[in-house]
């Protein structure tokens, strides 16, 4: 996913160079080893390592945006969003400046790095901020499409990436609109709503369900977490017997979907989310997700037991 982000940036900077413009900058919080070499080589003036000074990084980006620049900020999510929370709130969101925060290590992507590096609640935290657009892509292709459309976002944005693995879920003809959910699979009985990289799991679960019963499961992907496409959730939920949410956060998606469906007729609701706690041990992300009951087989099993 990170490679798609870098390639998107190189495209933007290349276009600007052709037009003799110098608008877009990348500011990094001393992270991005073996990621930004191409940018540093081709556009040495457009990349700045801001050092371990994240609050300053956000403040500087605000000043640059006031002066007409388009600034991308890059760091590991807790340092980008939590350390700097007030700068993000007051200096970017309040004046609605076009600063694009790109965080790496969404959910349990840094499973082996320990609890300090794992943003398990970042969607809730970011969702609390007015004027912020939250992008939660499920694969590298979506990252590329977001980068192409980033200028259409007038205020600040926050895009959360997994790590450097290149997940491929979507076909090349994918089209997305920021703020509009994607219906990836249509089905009649079960609605699975997913956001972010666990969309891969959602598709696998739906595949298994639909193999057992053709057209049973529908998958709705929320790639833009804010503004949230309540209408698509309500529309897809209509007539379903079971609503399922799958996320790598502590209930941000489940709560959104539940609030979308409040007052609507819903038969059953299953949410697959991380518990409201810090991780206790290190391991692979597959290991940790499994320990929380979030895997294709666990989710499939739970759904089957509810639908029997």
């Amino acid at each position: 996913m990170r490679r798609a982000f870098v390639n998107g940036l190189l495209d933007i900077m290349g276009t600007e160079r052709k037009e003799s413009k110098e608008l877009t900058y990348l500011l990094a919080g001393d992270l991005g080893f073996s990621a930004f070499e191409n940018i540093r080589e081709d556009y040495p003036k457009r990349f700045m390592n801001m050092g371990l000074s994240e609050q300053n990084m956000v403040g500087v980006s605000a000043g640059m945006a006031y002066a007409g620049k388009k600034v991308f900020l890059y760091s590991i999510i807790p340092f980008l969003l939590y350390r700097t929370f007030e700068q993000v709130r007051n200096d970017l969101c309040y004046p609605r400046l076009p600063v694009r925060m790109v965080g790496v290590g969404a959910g349990l992507a840094y499973a082996d790095a320990g609890a300090t590096h794992q943003p398990l609640e970042d969607l809730k935290v970011a969702d609390a901020l007015p004027n912020l657009t939250i992008l939660n892509p499920s694969d590298a292709q979506e990252v590329g499409l977001f980068m192409q459309k980033i200028d259409s976002i007038k205020g600040p944005s926050y895009m959360r990436l997994s790590k450097n693995e290149d997940i491929v879920l979507h076909t090349e003809d994918l089209r997305i609109n920021i703020g509009k959910a994607l219906r990836l699979v249509t089905g009649k009985r079960i609605l699975i709503v997913s956001s972010g990289v666990l969309t891969k799991v959602a598709l696998e679960v739906a595949g298994l369900l639909n193999k057992g019963e053709k057209g049973a499961a529908e998958v709705l992907e929320i790639h833009t977490f804010k503004p949230f496409d309540y209408g698509a959730v309500i529309g897809s939920a209509r007539g379903k017997e079971l609503i399922v949410t799958i996320e790598d956060n502590t209930g941000a998606l489940a709560e959104k979907v539940a609030s979308a469906l409040a007052g609507k007729e819903v038969q059953k609701f299953l949410s697959f989310k991380l518990p409201d706690e810090f991780t206790h041990v290190a391991g692979t992300k597959e290991y940790l997700f499994k320990s929380y009951g979030i895997s294709t087989s666990d989710i499939y099993g739970r759904i089957k037991s509810v639908m029997k």
Partner: protein
């Protein structure tokens, strides 16, 4: 003597006028921070009446001195009489800390420790794009205790932001006590980091103007030694005037002290 001397009476009379206004406005709005307004009003007057040009930027990082800024912006004709008269009333656009989008306010502030980084970002773009103009930012000395100031301090040196000028309103008070950092320590820290540091009397218009206009090949810090509540003897250097506002009969008495 230099041109500055001939202008001193003008600035002094503006300062007296605005100090009197501030007493009245604070009393009417029951607004806190008059002590801080009075400690930095001479700096703001010098900036707006003698220094700032059309390519310059100014950020009031110590946003709690907003009423002093409004007084100056009103005197300059940037804020309308209607808006200025609305301070403290429901629906006013002039809050106790500057709101985003208010005419004359480039950056909304209020939480301390934000302005220096934002100013550095503005100064960086000016430098990279070879644009003229200086970015000024007014900090409190209590504010200099915020860690983000330390981050911005080092960044400004690395980027050689020679058209960045930070002024510290050094009245030696924070909200409840003396500041943890004194002017001497601020001076040492910024000097050691590579800033050009000037220490001046923050109530001497000649010294303020000279310091604001001085050139350096490094970012500049002006430590303006000031007095909380300056200009009203019974308020001067008294902590209670960080938060209290004048009221009742005291308004007349305070005004009579201003000369």
């Amino acid at each position: 003597m230099n041109m500055g001397m001939t202008n001193v009476p003008d600035l002094k009379s503006i300062a007296n006028e605005l100090r009197k206004e501030l007493v009245v406005v604070h009393a009417a709005a029951n607004a806190p921070h008059i002590g801080s307004d009075l400690s930095c009003i001479d700096i703001l007057i010098t900036l707006y009446f003698k220094v700032l040009g059309k390519n310059d930027h100014f950020i009031l990082s110590k946003g709690h001195a907003a009423l002093a800024l409004y007084a100056v912006l009103h005197k300059k004709g940037i804020i309308s009489a209607d808006d200025y008269g609305s301070i403290g009333k429901d629906g006013s656009l002039l809050a106790e800390h500057p709101l985003h989008g208010m005419k004359g306010v480039e950056v909304a502030t209020g939480s301390l420790g934000h302005g220096l980084s934002i100013a550095a970002g503005m100064a960086l773009v000016n430098k990279r794009d070879n644009k003229s103009g200086t970015t000024y930012v007014l900090l409190g000395d209590g504010e200099c205790q915020e860690g983000s100031i330390f981050e911005a301090m080092n960044f400004a040196v690395r980027e050689r932001l020679n058209h960045l000028v930070a002024i510290v309103d050094s009245n030696r008070w924070q909200g409840l006590d003396r500041t943890l950092l004194n002017a001497e320590t601020v001076n040492k820290e910024f000097s050691a980091a590579g800033w050009t540091v000037n220490e001046i009397d923050g109530h001497n218009f000649d010294e303020i103007a000279a310091a604001l206009k001085s050139n350096s090949d490094a970012p500049t810090l002006i430590i303006a030694n000031t007095i909380l509540g300056k200009g009203i003897k019974s308020m001067e250097d008294k902590l209670e005037w960080h938060y209290r506002s004048p009221s009742g009969n005291s308004v007349k008495d305070f005004i009579s002290e201003i000369s």
